[in-house]
């Protein structure tokens, strides 16, 4: 898996770099520390020896030099050079030229007695009271050796760190790809049409869990929509079946009959069934468009009071024929609303038709417009049988016709369309008990309208 490899490499390189930084820091510090410690030792040794000379004179110094050489490590360099440079005490193989000597701390190349080659050393030159020169110092080889050891161990440490980093990377990559793999596997199974799959959660509440949660929520929503779509398709197919089959048999009978009157009758039935098919399809399309919020570009200001008055007047004769008195309580003032006048007219007409169709037996149908602070309510109330609470949701669903024996195919879509038109306006369709009867209302919020003003 190249991704795993990349993550492992990346983690390894990052570990290497951070270790390199730490090791570099240690190296810098210890290096400086080594040099400083050498310097301290050299100065200290020279100070001790000159003090010995001051208190005990040349004899004491010679003893001290012998002691030092006997007990100190082989890096120690000590020498007492006579004023003329001829006499030499100590462990230097040759005496440096006295003429060019200056007091103080120096780096110099010297050769110790018994050693084949000269070495770099840090030394202090001191001119004693008797005119002799005291050379006291240490070969730098000791510091160099320490540095070399340190360098070796640092390189080793670096290699170990790199390897460990790579190992960590592999473990990390494995962990990450396992968690992601679980999610990907779910996605894969979903692609293979099993929508019931959900991402397993570790319970740690980490980013992976959050991703999984979000994905699961998304899947829940998709499942719900799919189920809705399936129901819709099923009921659409079901509702289209009967007009199509009626259309088919009428057309077939028309083709077979020789009686012109009967033929005309049958052809009229063909056209009526085709019309009702078209009406169903148009309404379904209108619902989809409203739910997709298409049509907001046609919003404009209009007076809901006038709209309701017009529709109440339009449906009054129809209600009258069905034995119901349609009343409109006209508000005192205009009720301006920013919306789709034509679609709201259709929604209200659907509520009216629903009330006339199912509630006329109650004898009264009331249309009300209630302007409110936050929302405008357009209400149609009948005194018919109403809809029991547990069946109201069903009544609003697409094709949720409660009385399945009815042959009027379009009827089942009326409330569904009214609801989707309410949604288009950020509003809602309510079905309530009118005690007795059904009260349907469109509630359209006002805030949008003011924002648009």
């Amino acid at each position: 898996m190249p991704t795993t490899l990349r993550i492992a490499l990346l983690a390894g390189i990052l570990a290497l770099l951070s270790n390199l930084a730490v090791i570099g820091f240690i190296y810098e510090r210890t290096h400086d520390e080594a040099v400083a410690s050498l310097h301290r030792q050299v100065v200290e040794q020279s100070k001790v020896l000159t003090d010995v000379y001051r208190t005990g004179g040349k004899t004491a110094l010679n003893e001290a030099i012998d002691d030092t050489l006997a007990y100190a490590d082989p890096q120690t360099a000590v020498a007492l050079i006579s004023r003329d440079g001829g006499e030499l005490e100590g462990n230097l193989a040759t005496a440096p030229a006295v003429q060019s000597m200056q007091e103080g701390y120096h780096s110099a190349v010297i050769r110790l007695r018994g050693q084949p080659s000269p070495h770099l050393a840090e030394i202090v030159l001191s001119r004693l009271a008797g005119g002799e020169w005291l050379v006291s110092g240490r070969l730098v080889g000791e510091g160099l050796a320490f540095r070399a050891t340190l360098e070796r161990s640092l390189i080793l440490a670096l290699a170990v760190a790199g390897l460990l980093g790579l190992l960590c990377g592999v473990i990390l990559a494995h962990y990450v790809s396992r968690r992601i793999g679980q999610i990907a596997a779910v996605a894969n199974r979903i692609s293979a049409r099993d929508l019931s799959q959900r991402v397993p959660l570790s319970g740690a509440g980490d980013s992976f869990d959050r991703l999984g949660l979000q994905m699961n929520a998304m899947l829940d929503r998709i499942s719900m929509l799919m189920e809705e779509l399936r129901l819709l398709t099923d009921s659409l197919a079901h509702d289209l079946r009967s007009p199509v089959s009626r259309l088919r048999s009428a057309a077939q009978a028309a083709a077979q009959t020789s009686d012109p009157n009967e033929q005309e009758e049958l052809l009229g039935s063909v056209v009526r069934n085709a019309d009702s098919l078209i009406r169903i399809l148009t309404t379904v399309l209108e619902i989809s468009r409203s739910e997709a919020l298409t049509g907001r570009n046609q919003f404009a200001w209009f007076d809901v009071r006038e709209l309701a008055a017009e529709l109440a007047e339009m449906y009054d004769p129809l209600a009258d024929e069905q034995g119901a008195a349609l009343r409109f309580e006209r508000p005192d003032r205009a009720v301006p609303l920013f919306g789709h006048r034509q679609l709201l007219a259709q929604a209200l007409s659907n509520l009216l038709e629903n009330a006339i169709r199912y509630g006329s037996k109650g004898g009264e149908i009331d249309v009300r417009v209630q302007p409110g602070e936050k929302r405008i309510r357009i209400e149609v109330a009948d005194r018919g049988p109403g809809i029991p609470l547990d069946r109201r949701e069903e009544a609003v669903k697409r094709f949720g016709r409660l009385d399945s024996s009815r042959s009027d195919e379009g009827a089942g879509l009326g409330l569904a369309l009214a609801r989707s038109i309410a949604h288009l306006h950020d509003g809602e369709l309510h079905l309530e008990d009118n005690r007795p009867g059904l009260r349907t209302s469109l509630e359209i919020p006002v805030h949008r309208q003011q924002a648009a003003r």
Binding site: E286, G295, Y315, P317, L318, H340, Q342, L343, Q346, E353
Partner: protein, 227 residues
């Protein structure tokens, strides 16, 4: 009575069916099968009516319409479209069409609308306040008063508007959707016979007690006011 009609429609079957029917009605029909050709023919302005499909190759119907109106060619346009939603219809009308008919449609419906549009063009020369008479029916659009055989009829405002629309289309078929669109200005398809109820109420006031009915039902199409 024959008029020049431009038919812009890319579906051959629909086009030949419409051309045949309109020719039988005595009109002369010129055809275009794409938007660009249609626009080109329409710009000479010699047509009495343009029947325009919305979804056309090369240039869509609404673009043709906008181009025509931008060029101040005011030939009446009837849009034919399978785009049937209320929003689509409003969009078509707002683009400057005079009528919008949704596919599929009956030829009777189309013919009724074609005749109404042609008639509207004719009546533009008449002043609107001219008295309308149909047989013994007399309508005064200024005072909105209606008399039949000298007797005043008491009509509600909407009934008057219905009758005036019928009278302005005297002798021509008027369909239910035309009434809903023209008299009420609504563009949806009601699921009930709400329009018929209004017409039958008007008919009761208009024809009851008179020997000769004026308001006729045309089977499979709509209504007609004729002496």
């Amino acid at each position: 009575m024959g008029r020049k009609i431009l038919l812009v429609e890319d579906d051959r079957e629909t086009a030949s069916y419409l051309a045949k029917g309109l020719t039988q009605e005595g009109h002369s029909v010129e055809q275009a099968t794409n938007g660009q050709d249609g626009l080109f023919r329409a710009t000479d302005g010699s047509f009495d009516l343009i029947i325009l499909d919305r979804m056309l190759p090369v240039l869509d119907g609404l673009s043709v319409l906008r181009a025509l109106r931008a060029a101040h060619i005011e030939t009446p346009v009837l849009i034919l479209s399978a785009l049937a939603s209320v929003g689509d219809r409003i969009e078509g009308l707002e683009c400057g069409s005079d009528d919008y008919l949704v596919k599929p449609f009956s030829f009777a419906e189309l013919l009724a609308r074609v005749n109404a549009l042609l008639r509207r063009r004719e009546s533009r020369v008449d002043p609107a306040d001219h008295r309308l008479t149909v047989g013994d029916l007399e309508i005064d659009p200024l005072s909105r008063s209606v008399k039949r055989a000298g007797k005043k009829l008491d009509l509600k405002p909407r009934e008057y508007l219905l009758l005036e629309y019928f009278a302005r289309n005297e002798g021509r078929v008027v369909t239910r959707t035309m009434l809903l669109e023209q008299v009420w200005d609504y563009h949806f398809d009601p699921g009930t016979n709400v329009i018929d109820v209004h017409v039958s109420r008007l008919r009761r006031k208009l024809d009851e007690g008179f020997e000769k009915p004026l308001l006729h039902t045309v089977r499979g199409a709509g209504y007609m006011l004729a002496a």
